[in-house]
């Protein structure tokens, strides 16, 4: 009985650690969707690109880990913002479908660039925390890396919350997301806010990528699965709600770990998507999303 409890807690802990990374990916997607109504399918590939930048800075340039991570986040942010200025803004396309396709195109471009620059072989990102060193709390075992990534994930979420809710820039971002034209009329530099959002969202993705790298190893397709899970988490929580993204990510991680532990590892992903479809049928706007109203 005690053992059963310990096993359950163990699965939940593992799920929370993975879920915090899903939540980070989901936050990037939600941040961008809220502001610009773009579903960014290149989010995963931007993140992979950022992780490879960190890898290059760490191994070829021999930067310390913190500096390399920071450099990677900044580079990815610049790439994201550049994409906004070079493609999204000049594009005539304005439908949801068209924008999805543009970001799919960007995803392919980034993936191609990553393959050409670094090849398709798997690489190991030198990470300061180890997954062999573990902490024991009773019968529950937690690896150092899980604790670290959970902590960093929570810290980033907190920082993002403060930025969006308690700063002038965050206020401008919220205003733009509510009504772009009204925000522009009131003198908010909408263009810069969009670019900033692209940059922030991309940097969040890169952070998730670096934290995931020790678990998945580094290859050009490493972020595909986490991106899909993050996307699913964002939709589960409600695509326009930032707390929703965090809750959706953690929930998805825990559900997946429980199902993987008790039922079947093979059908883990299938289950995740079936749950999401079931939730959406009951609540079409996601768990914490606002109900979708429109003028006819």
């Amino acid at each position: 009985m005690v053992q059963d409890m310990a096993l359950l807690v163990q699965y939940v802990v593992v799920g929370l650690a993975v879920g915090s990374l899903y939540a980070l990916v989901a936050l990037g997607i939600v941040l961008l969707y809220r502001t610009s109504r773009i579903l960014n399918f290149a989010h995963g590939d931007l993140a992979t690109f950022g992780t490879f930048i960190a890898f290059a800075l760490l191994t070829a340039w021999r930067w310390p880990f913190a500096a390399a991570s920071l450099g990677s986040l900044l580079t990815t942010a610049v790439v994201g913002a550049a994409f906004f200025f070079l493609v999204i803004r000049p594009a005539k396309e304005s439908t949801l479908l068209g924008k999805i396709v543009i970001t799919l195109g960007l995803a392919l471009v980034l993936q191609g660039a990553t393959v050409i620059l670094w090849g398709t072989g798997t690489k190991i990102l030198p990470f300061p925390l180890s997954d062999i060193k573990v902490y024991r709390l009773g019968q529950v075992v937690v690896s150092q890396i899980s604790v670290g990534s959970f902590a960093v994930g929570l810290a980033l979420m907190g920082a993002l919350y403060v930025l969006v809710q308690h700063t002038r820039v965050g206020l401008a971002m919220r205003a733009v997301s509510q009504d772009t034209v009204a925000a522009q009329v009131l003198g908010i530099p909408v263009k810069q806010i969009f670019a900033l959002t692209w940059g922030l969202a991309s940097a969040l993705g890169a952070a998730a990528g670096i934290l995931l790298a020790p678990a998945t190893l580094l290859d050009p397709y490493m972020m595909l699965d986490p991106f899909l899970k993050g996307f699913a988490a964002a939709v589960l929580g409600g695509i326009d709600s930032m707390p929703g993204a965090a809750v959706g990510g953690l929930l998805l991680g825990v559900l997946e770990a429980l199902f993987g532990g008790y039922v079947s590892v093979k059908f883990k992903t299938t289950l995740a998507f079936l749950i999401i479809i079931a939730v959406l049928v009951v609540r079409p706007e996601g768990l914490l999303g606002r109900e979708y109203k429109r003028r006819v």
Partner: protein, 326 residues
């Protein structure tokens, strides 16, 4: 400016000397292709036929009814495996197996259409994407059905015991594709097609005007999935073997790109997109490493410059000549 006086004149698909000669030239070109083109190109041409069927079906759903599907490879997979299982386990001859593939996929299309009644935009995107991934994972892990790592091998196409050669398969597939395109063209001109377009433009307004959303949304999914299933069965027979890796998220995106690059909500656009995106990767096969880069850049460029796709650009060129010199 031609004046149409009778309803029958409005119904005709091919008009005037120019229309008929263009159609005849096209048919002659398709008929002579095996003579003109090198042997290996026939395989590509058959693959184009498969993709035309899938793209036309997808465009009925996305372009005409306005329902996003990023899991279309799932329907293609259902059709392909249904045909494969019917042909290998139950020894059903190929016309029956293909039809079975189409019907099985249509059934799944109907099932996916039910949650789609309540979902829009990103929510529908994730639901269909999830369906595609679920199908792929079930096929990968359910080895009795899919044959596991070794794959599922299909019997060769044969009519009355005579094995079909490459150019026979090409004629068969081109004929099938032409028939399905013809059906789709007529479908979108009927009351069903008008209901689809009304739902795309505004589902609430359509409902007010008496369009039954439940019926037509699930019908759109079922018809689109039927096309995908037939396409999948054709693909299964063309390749001769099946493995789950043929039906991943990448394929869903690939089919989706076809209709967007070709032109959303147009049948000729779907055909043009399918042709371009089948032949382009084959011609660029030498630059395999640069393929995703070129491919992605092409998509971004087309979308940035011409949102209506290739067919939209063609319509504009035609309009320019029609109104010239103004």
């Amino acid at each position: 400016m031609e004046l149409r006086q009778r309803y029958e004149e409005d119904l005709t698909l091919v008009r005037g000397v120019l229309g008929w000669s263009a159609l005849l030239a096209l048919l002659a070109f398709l008929a002579l292709l095996p003579v003109l083109a090198p042997g290996y190109f026939l395989y590509t041409a058959s693959l184009v036929a498969v993709h035309v069927v899938i793209a036309v079906g997808l465009n009925l759903l996305v372009g005409y009814t306005g329902q996003i599907s990023l899991g279309h490879a799932g329907f293609v997979a259902v059709g392909a495996y249904a045909a494969g299982v019917l042909a290998t386990r139950l020894h059903v001859p190929w016309p029956g197996a293909m039809l079975g593939g189409g019907i099985a996929a249509a059934f799944f299309g109907f099932l996916v259409g039910i949650p789609a009644l309540r979902l829009t935009g990103p929510y529908l995107t994730i639901a269909t994407l999830g369906f595609g991934i679920a199908v792929n994972q079930v096929l990968t892990n359910w080895e009795q059905l899919s044959g596991g790592r070794t794959g599922l091998f299909l019997p060769k196409l044969a009519i009355a015991g005579v094995r079909l050669r490459d150019h026979h398969i090409y004629y068969l597939f081109a004929g099938l594709a032409a028939a399905l395109v013809w059906i789709a063209t007529n479908l979108v001109r009927s009351h069903v097609g008008r209901a689809f377009v009304a739902i795309r433009d505004s589902d609430i307004a359509a409902e007010v005007m008496g369009v039954n959303l439940t019926v037509y949304k699930t019908l759109a999914f079922a018809v689109s999935a039927f096309y995908a299933g037939i396409g999948g069965a054709m693909l299964a027979y063309l390749l001769g073997y099946l493995e789950p890796q043929l039906f991943t998220l990448f394929e869903s995106i690939y089919y989706f790109s076809m209709i967007v690059i070709g032109g959303l909500g147009t049948i000729p656009g779907s055909i043009l997109g399918a042709i371009l995106l089948t032949i382009l990767p084959q011609q660029l096969a030498g630059l395999k490493q640069y393929l995703p880069l070129v491919y992605g850049a092409t998509i971004v460029l087309v979308m940035a410059v011409e949102p209506l796709g290739i067919y939209g650009r063609w319509l504009r060129i035609k309009l320019w000549f029609k109104t010239w010199p103004f």
